[in-house]
């Protein structure tokens, strides 16, 4: 690890900011420091999740064996032994941690497979859904928020603000059902659920995102089918993000509009589109980025209900199925994935600040 970092420090460390660098470039030091604090965070999360899962006032044995089998003490005993439920709690936890370190998330009670295998099959579907929702949200909210800011106080601005309030308060499972009824059942514009129609087989896996993989392999029809399955759940998932982001884009642009450099850009005789896109939006980008990170992280949680509605075979529906069956290893696996997703998204946002705002580059 140190060797890689030092090698990476070579060319970058020779730059003009030598004093601030010492041996490793600041970015690498930043990541290293974050990795360290992250590992503590992860241990904490496992402890919390473990505690919650064990103190739920329901017996997983009953939940999984069924009332009949749970009557038989021998079966119950065998079941508890098989899943380690007969051990004292600290031992259970340490065993869990030890396996975790070896990449073993345990065995799902519900599917009978390794949780890591279940997640590997399902997380990409959720990632694809969340990313698609993010893209839709950005495409809608940035122009919408900008226009609202430029027309501040006018009816169109008020309409946008009112609309975003609705979008934020509408529960996504309800919106999902209504959308499904309308666009699938009534209009037939989109397929009813899942990631692909039955006649298609998934494309060769590279990114595990069907739309991207299909395009990489050059199968346009397959990509179209995947996209058609994707668009409605992604749009439903995007709705609260759009509401949140539009409001944020609007307020960050209002912040920037009064700045001297915007007045200066106008004093240079630049056209209004240039001023808005290159000067105003550019300056608002770090603020917007913060909320984009937040919205994306929330989307991972938001998929839980949306996936259920659209029979999307992702982590959200897996989490739902596991939770109602008290499938602890699976639930804990999902929690870990969400934690890691939050950490990765936050780290990416922090690193992207440096890309977007040159003033943040050296100071870490």
């Amino acid at each position: 690890m140190t060797a890689t970092l030092d090698r990476a420090a070579g060319p970058a460390g020779a730059g003009p900011k030598r004093t601030a660098t010492r041996r490793r470039p600041p970015v690498m030091r930043f990541i290293a420091r974050r990795a360290l604090s992250t590992s503590f965070l992860l241990v904490g999360v496992t402890a919390a999740v473990f505690a919650v899962s064990r103190f739920v006032p329901t017996d997983p044995v009953v939940a999984n064996l069924g009332t009949e089998a749970a009557q038989d003490p021998a079966i119950v005993e065998a079941y508890r032994e098989k899943h380690g439920l007969d051990q004292p709690l600290p031992v259970q936890y340490l065993t869990y941690l030890w396996r975790l370190l070896h990449g073993d998330l345990g065995q799902s009670i519900q599917t009978g497979q390794a949780v890591s295998a279940d997640l590997a099959a399902r997380v990409p579907a959720t990632v694809e859904l969340a990313l698609a929702a993010m893209i839709i949200a950005l495409l809608v909210s940035i122009p919408l928020g900008t226009v609202a800011a430029l027309r501040r106080g006018k009816p169109s601005d008020k309409a946008v603000l009112g609309g975003t309030l609705l979008g934020m308060s509408a529960p996504s499972f309800w919106v999902g059902l209504v959308a499904l009824y309308l666009f699938f059942f009534r209009l037939g514009w989109v397929p009813g659920g899942g990631r692909l129609s039955l006649e298609y087989v998934p494309p060769p896996s590279r990114t595990h995102l069907y739309t991207v993989d299909a395009l990489i392999s050059g199968d346009v029809a397959l990509a179209m089918d995947a996209a058609r399955h994707l668009v409605l759940p992604a749009a439903v998932l995007a709705l609260p993000m759009i509401a949140l982001l539009t409001r944020f884009v609007r307020s960050s642009i209002l912040d920037v509009l009064g700045e001297d450099y915007v007045r200066n850009a106008r004093a240079k005789g630049l056209g209004e589109p240039t001023v808005i896109v290159r000067y105003v939006l550019r300056a608002a980008a770090p603020q917007i980025l913060t909320v984009v990170g937040l919205a994306l992280a929330n989307a991972f949680v938001g998929t839980l209900l949306v996936e259920q509605v659209f029979s999307w075979p992702g982590m959200g529906s897996y989490a739902y199925q596991s939770a109602i069956r008290l499938d602890f290893p699976a639930v804990m696996g999902v929690c870990l994935v969400i934690t890691v997703a939050y950490i990765i998204i936050n780290l990416s946002v922090d690193l992207l600040y440096g890309v977007v705002d040159p003033r943040m580059r050296v100071t870490t």
């Binding site: 001297d260 007045r263 005789g269 000067y279 980008a285």
Partner: protein, 333 residues
């Protein structure tokens, strides 16, 4: 005598309407001649910045301008924003007070120097960049090549202001409006920036309007001065006439309010009593009369018109005061 670069006549700016209409600028006249530096002096709120924003068509939302401001034979008041966009940055360059905020913090210097050149002069990127290098050289920025790829925060305040001046100069404008360009700078770098403006004015024949409240800057840099008070020009003339023979009590009070400039000048510093009136609450008659040491009864009712002073044929020196308390003592200070 050639026509002035900019000729402003009866320029008025007002906000609101009907009962609540407030006149921020009450009909100001001034000329900026070719190749000269005109100083516009006054306290904050006197309308000096508003006058130049009216000329540029960059008034705040809800403000209207009337009158005329003729630049190179073209009246800018009443032009549409799209017509003004072909003037701003092209024929009038603007330098703002604080270079920390007037340059975009996330765009490279090269970009901020070239975007308006490419728009106004139709230059290709490489041509614009070559010209930007010359400009940076011209404003004495060390190492222009490297500077082009850097961001504003990597320069000191003085260097940033030099960059801002280079950007204002980029399209070789007739006029540069510098709004307090040294106020935000350390005293030690102020002189350098002022000398740069003087040199650019002399070398390129660019006219400069220097908006400032710093009379030291005025006397050092400007050829002529217009003093603003509460939306009107109350005194104007050559810098020497106005500085050495100020006729308006307000100008005189401003000069007296300057701190000691050296050992040979041991007069006390006298602050001006009261505060400048707001445009919404302007006293009748002469706007300065409540603060004026020489105010008489007519000052409270009759707004004074401009009066000329000095010998005929010389540089005109006008002021607006009914009392003219310095009539006899105008030679001594």
């Amino acid at each position: 005598m050639t026509t002035p670069a900019l000729s402003v006549r009866n320029l008025r700016v007002s906000v609101g309407s009907g009962e609540s209409e407030v006149e921020i600028l009450r009909g100001v006249d001034f000329d900026v001649r070719r190749g000269e530096i005109l100083g516009i002096a006054g306290e904050s709120g006197s309308g000096k910045t508003m006058a130049m924003r009216a000329v540029l068509g960059l008034l705040p939302h809800g403000a209207r301008a009337t009158g005329s401001a003729v630049l190179d034979g073209r009246d800018l008041v009443g032009l549409s924003q799209s017509e003004l966009r072909t003037i701003r940055g092209r024929h009038i360059g603007m330098v703002f007070q604080d270079p920390t905020t007037s340059l975009h913090p996330m765009l490279r210097i090269g970009r901020q120097l070239t975007d308006h050149m490419r728009k106004h002069l139709g230059l290709r990127r490489a041509e614009a960049e070559r010209r930007a290098l010359d400009l940076l050289d011209d404003v004495r920025l060390p190492d222009p090549e490297q500077a082009m790829g850097r961001y504003p925060h990597q320069f000191s305040g003085g260097m940033r202001q030099r960059i801002a001046i280079a950007a204002a100069l980029a399209c070789n404008p007739t006029l540069i409006v510098a709004d307090e360009p040294t106020t935000a700078l350390d005293v030690t770098v102020q002189a350098g920036v002022l000398a740069l403006l003087r040199r650019l004015c002399d070398e390129h024949g660019t006219s400069i309007v220097m908006i400032t409240h710093d009379l030291g800057v005025l006397s050092e840099l400007c050829d002529r001065v217009s003093v603003f008070y509460s939306g009107s020009v109350i005194e104007s003339g050559s810098t020497r006439d106005v500085m050495d023979h100020a006729r308006h009590p307000y100008t005189r009070a401003l000069l007296d309010a300057l701190p000691d400039q050296g050992l040979d000048d041991l007069r006390p510093m006298v602050p001006i009593a009261g505060t400048a009136p707001s445009a919404a609450d302007r006293p009748a008659g002469c706007a300065f009369h409540p603060r004026c040491r020489f105010a008489t009864v007519p000052c409270q009712t009759d707004p004074p018109g401009p009066r000329a002073t000095g010998p005929d044929g010389a540089e005109p020196h006008t002021f607006s005061c009914t009392v003219d308390p310095f009539e006899l003592r105008s030679v001594v200070r």
